[in-house]
Amino acid sequence: MTPVAAPPVLPLSEISAVFCLLLILLVPFTGTGLALVNTGLGGARSAAHSILAALCVMAVAALVYVIVGYAWQGAPGHPDHALVVAGKAWGWIAAEPFFLRGRRLDLSPSALTILLQMFSVGLAGLIPLSSGADRWRLGAICASTALLAGFTYPLFAHWVWGGGWLAELGVNCGLGRGFIDGGGSSAIQVVGGLTALSITWILGPRRGKFSAEGMPAALPGHNAVLVFLGCTLAWIGWIALNSAGAILFLSAETGRVVLIAVNTTLCAAASTLGAAVVTRIRFGRPDASLSANGWIAGLVASSAAAAFLKPAAAIFVGGVAGILVVTSADFLEFQLAIDDPGGAVSVHAVAGLWGILAVALLADTGPGRQWIAQLAGVATLLGFVLPLTYGLNWLLDRIYRQRVDREGELQGMDLFELGSGAYPEFDIRGDEFLQR
């Protein structure tokens, strides 16, 4: 195992770098959007807690990533630790200093990557908030985010974006262009979605969610307007995220941003309509929250391949994502008894996995065995990231219980953990859905 330097990325012209910087500065809208969606889909008595938790997640993620995370992730062309197998170097973790020491934070691609990743790691941390809504303690949220931002995310992101072994599958093994994910379907969305699955398993369902016979009760979100505002903000941020990712990680020219914006929008549009049609057939009328989830699922699925798809293919990718998110949410709740209030597992993990495979199925990436590279990425997410993130959160739960006390669930997270609610003018303590 020796530190080796991967080939450097192509430098950006100053105009391209400034354009990329402006795109990156729009990415936090994605976080705002996801925070609003999470809050709207949660209970009214946990709304202030949800928003504060989102801010804490972004704060903890940025701090921990800068202190230790970037040291594990690194960037192409920077030194990393590699295992030599069959004469080829397989980079597995970066060898950068902590606290970004020695890094020039200017308009260079590696500095822009650091800025984008500071935001992206927060996005990954926001995803599990949705699945732990109404029962996840604030302290545990911060600790779990620190584990994600400090180790799980940087390690996988190094493999995909930092010149690690998944990115080098094309060079080392002749597998197409290596594992491709321009906007983070895998490193952001699926990593966050699998962490969300781990959190739902560790926390267990909300009180009153499943009846004595095992039938799930409907615990609807409290504010559809917040959800739809969140979807719109997320859309803006997502276009910027996909575009900046393609420029920095796939060396796409800046002119390709228009295609990426068109494809991202088409994916979201087709996915929303797909979800609305499926819920119309399934329940007799379109479901607002599942259709909104369809919008986010379309954005998630677009991230990996938006730079390579033709518009017609983007519509297909989005349509499938919309169908998947509804059927998956239904299956998880009714068959597997998983209580995921915001649908994070379906929206981010399932749609993200579909987006990764869509690269091999539909994207114009040139000749080569792209399928095997994409499957290797999927296998790594399921076989490495899921056990890792589950194990870390399980250990955390042993040390510091993650689920709130019974009293907290009955009172609502706002009053129990913060001492005041988001809507003080209204009496929202009564809850007809809660079995006392």
Partner: protein
Amino acid sequence: MKIAGFLLLIAGWAIVVAAVALLPSSGARFGFVFAGVAVELFGLTLAVRAHLVLPAEGE
């Protein structure tokens, strides 16, 4: 069952990585990668079953 499920997930990933790194033939590599993913799906099924909530626990 939960531990067995997670061990199978890791084992499936190891099969995929080994196939990609060590097998030169495209056909064999594709077959072993699919086999590894199949092992992972079996492991995921076990992990999911281990986490099924009994009605009494859901209350």
